[in-house]
């Protein structure tokens, strides 16, 4: 019996047993109702029995799993299964024996429910911890073979030779893990995306909240949101198959030489992807500005555009900046578009028509190859992931800080 089957049997068996426990507990207390008034509604006695059945069983099952994972002991799956079911039966028997009408079943059940809810909300903390620790540990292993300094300042990224060296092939140069060209490529594509997304998103939001008739607004908003619902793999395909050749062709008309996996195509497409993000956040900020400000401006004889430029935008600026930073952090971490449309070659250049690669592309490349898991080539993905995590976390923090610090109080 594999552990997967055991888990299936466990949960498959637990749920009917829980239903049974509920009915038994409820019936038992109802039979006693004549002797004394019930403290709680009858259902709570049923739940009381369920708790006594399920909690011990879960504790045993989780404990056995944990022991196995930590390598302390490996109880065979059938044994764990039997033990947990026995404990469950014992718990149920105990519950049925202690059931009395005067039992404060509701308080007990609600206490347990509260703990369960708290446990669920700790999952998000565990997830963060998991991300940080898993990336950190592997990154530390990476930095044991590659110095952090070289990683942060080196301008050559050529991990493939490490693979050849590992395979016992001599003669190749040693691998180099300088991440500067990757980050340069990432920032270049992000910058292109922001050049597209910021003005288009902001101006669209202004149009929709200040100029547009109700009907246009009602149609335009969901239309923009369609852009946000398109999967990134689809944008990637579009960027690679349609926009890239277009860029090459257009560059050819003006006498420029563009690479087929140029940075412009993924940048522009990524910018379009972020438009709804920028526009909906800006829209929220702009519509939160009270009408008295607009009316005051109009009363002084300002036109709509003057009102927008001189009253609304300054008032909305912190929110817009926060949206801008969040959008940038999203663009930095975007993967599929660049995997499909940007190049694989690390290239330190300022020309968006050349091919360049990004951090996320190299992460995917390092982890979808055939290398063994412990090679520096594979582990480099975690080094890059750690950097990406830190950069996006800092950007999020800045954005939250900006919103809190500059939050306008209008009243």
């Amino acid at each position: 019996m594999t552990s997967g089957q055991a888990a299936l049997l466990f949960f498959g068996g637990l749920f009917p047993l829980m239903a049974l426990a509920y009915m038994l507990g409820r019936r038992r207390v109802l039979a006693q109702e004549a002797t004394a008034p019930l403290h709680s509604r009858p259902g709570f006695y049923g739940w009381y029995a369920v708790v006594w059945l399920a909690l011990p069983a879960l504790v045993v099952a989780l404990g056995a799993t944990l022991l196995q994972l930590l390598g302390l002991a490996s109880p065979p799956a059938p044994m764990t299964l039997t033990a947990s079911l026995l404990v469950a039966a014992g718990g149920l028997a105990l519950a049925l024996r202690t059931l009395r009408p005067s039992l404060r079943a509701r308080n007990i059940v609600e206490g347990v429910a509260r703990w369960l809810l708290l446990a669920a909300s700790l999952v998000s903390i565990l997830t963060t911890l998991g991300i940080v620790l898993s990336i950190l540990f592997e990154a530390i292993r990476f930095f044991q073979t590659v110095s952090i300094w070289e990683f942060l300042t080196g301008t050559t990224w050529s991990p493939d030779t490490a693979f050849l060296g590992g395979a016992g092939r001599e003669g190749g140069e040693s691998a180099q893990f300088g991440s500067v060209p990757l980050f340069a490529g990432t920032f270049m594509i992000t910058a292109i995306a922001m050049v597209v997304a910021l003005p288009v998103g902001l101006l669209s939001a202004i149009y929709m909240s200040e100029y547009a008739p109700k009907r246009v607004r009602a149609a335009a908003k969901p239309t923009l949101e369609v852009l946000a619902g398109i999967p990134t793999v689809v944008y990637g395909f579009f960027a690679a198959i349609t926009v890239s050749p277009l860029v090459v062709q257009l560059a050819g008309y003006v006498g420029l030489d563009a690479s087929h996996s140029n940075a412009l195509a993924p940048g522009v497409v990524m910018g379009v992807m972020i438009i709804p993000f920028v526009s909906s956040l800006s829209d929220d900020v702009i519509s939160a500005i009270p009408h008295s400000l607009r009316e005051g401006s109009f009363a002084l004889g300002a036109t709509t555009s003057e009102t927008i430029k001189q009253v609304l935008l300054p008032a909305a600026l912190p929110g817009v900046i926060a949206a801008f930073i969040l959008a940038a952090s999203r663009a930095l971490g975007e993967t599929m578009i660049v995997v499909m449309a940007a190049g694989l070659r690390p290239n330190l250049t300022a020309n968006p028509l050349e091919d360049m690669t990004t951090v996320t592309v190299r992460i995917v490349d390092a982890l979808t190859g055939d290398q063994e898991f412990d090679s520096p080539q594979t582990l480099s993905a975690f080094g890059l992931g750690l950097m990406l995590f830190i950069v996006t976390l800092v950007l999020n923090m800045i954005s939250m800080y900006v919103v809190r610090r500059f939050h306008e109080k209008y009243d």
Binding site: V109, I125, L227, T304
Partner: protein, 388 residues
């Protein structure tokens, strides 16, 4: 009304011009986004719709000892190199499944080779001139025609574009989403209920709240690294399985569900809570009997949107290995599986032209499903939206 002096009039004119310019700029921005959307859909549909059709050739198929050993011999010599090798490969299977076929000759519509297909669709093909003439003749006789490509939906992945379909990816997507839903929905709703209705205002609560906001902004590929390190390397979940992918996506979807559930809970007015308390309900009863049922439409809307997002996600799934070549549908959550976006990605990187068509067709299917889900969420919200 007094006529303004020339200077003021000039100024006024300039200001009105600036006004019009700015408005035009705003309209231009919106039009750019809409134009992109139109161009995008036109492009994908024009690229993808040919893949919904597939050339079939009518020919006699002979089932005999010889054709089982040498499937090429099963069809007439003239079309031998025009029908799909994928079909010919199935001949021994067909005989095994239906022994009655043995020794018979059946006239059938047979899937054509991809080059024939491309040629009939008027695209560049690698057919020799001779073969092109044969295909032209067949088409004239009505023995070669474009039919609806059912195998796109009934077949799994294949190295031959004419035999490849999305079935295994669709099944993999269903398994993956099932895992995602079973994990993220209860945990997400419970978290939101705790934070909104039970949590005291203390350090832990605030930490959880900040955390959830941060998690919502973590790049999706980092969830892939998490899934790889924790679920696959530590817990030993099989690589490429729907379980590994589903758990990874569940953690990614969790913040979306939590945030939208909290908004839904918050929109229930306090008078409901006070009413429940007033008739003697406990906090749990108040939530379970009054607040949750009232906010359910909002919770479902948010969850559908979260799941739709998970359904389109690719990057973390590539990291946990769900890009494998999967011809047969997976039978459970532990089997190697692929999902629709990953299938699209792997088709997009294959060089044959026909795979670009298939990629676009897969995209059309994915977009139809996603847009339907999103529309359902919007309708649900409209239908059950309540103003208190």
């Amino acid at each position: 009304m007094a006529t303004p002096d020339p200077h003021t009039a000039k100024l006024l004119k300039r200001r009105y011009r600036a006004e019009r310019r700015f408005k035009a700029l705003c309209i231009g921005a919106l039009s750019f986004a809409v134009a992109f959307l139109v161009l995008f859909f036109a492009d994908i549909i024009s690229k993808g719709y040919p893949a919904f059709q597939q050339t079939k050739i009518q020919t006699e198929v002979t089932y005999s000892e010889r054709s089982v050993e040498l499937p090429l011999a099963a069809v007439g010599e003239d079309v031998r190199y025009l029908v799909s090798r994928g079909f010919l490969r199935q001949i021994p299977d067909q005989v095994e499944r239906d022994p009655d076929l043995m020794g018979r000759t059946v006239t059938r519509w047979v899937t054509a080779d991809t080059d024939v297909d491309q040629y009939l669709k008027g695209k560049h093909s690698k057919l020799s001139e001779e073969d092109e003439q044969i295909v032209d003749r067949l088409a004239e006789e009505g023995r070669a025609e474009l039919a609806f490509n059912w195998s796109l939906f009934t077949a799994g992945d294949s190295t031959m574009p004419e035999m490849a379909g999305i079935r295994s990816a669709v099944v993999g997507t269903l398994f993956t989403l099932l895992v995602t839903m079973l994990v993220s929905f209860p945990v997400g709703v419970m978290t939101a209920v705790y934070l909104e209705e039970f949590a005291p205002d203390n350090r832990l609560t605030r930490a959880i709240e900040v955390n959830i906001n941060n998690l919502a902004a973590v790049p999706s590929i980092l969830y892939g690294l998490l899934g790889l390190a924790v679920f696959i390397n530590f817990f030993g979940v099989p690589r490429s399985s729907a379980l590994a992918g589903g758990l990874t996506l569940a953690l990614m979807t969790l913040p979306i569900i939590i945030i939208s559930t909290r908004a839904a809970l918050r929109s229930v007015p306090d008078s409901i809570r006070e009413g429940a308390f007033g008739v003697g309900a406990s906090r749990l009863q108040m939530v379970a009997h009054h607040v949750l049922p009232l906010s359910l439409p909002g919770i479902l809307t948010g969850s559908i949107i979260g799941l739709a997002q998970a359904m389109g996600e690719t990057a973390p799934l590539l990291i946990v290995g769900m890009m494998a070549f999967i011809p047969a549908s997976p039978d459970g959550v532990m089997d190697a599986a692929t999902v629709l976006p990953a299938q699209i990605f792997s088709w997009a990187s294959r060089p044959e032209r026909a795979f670009a068509e298939l990629t676009a067709a897969g995209i059309i299917v994915l977009l139809v499903v996603l847009l339907t889900l999103n529309a359902a969420a919007v309708l649900l919200r409209k239908r059950f939206e309540r103003r208190w």
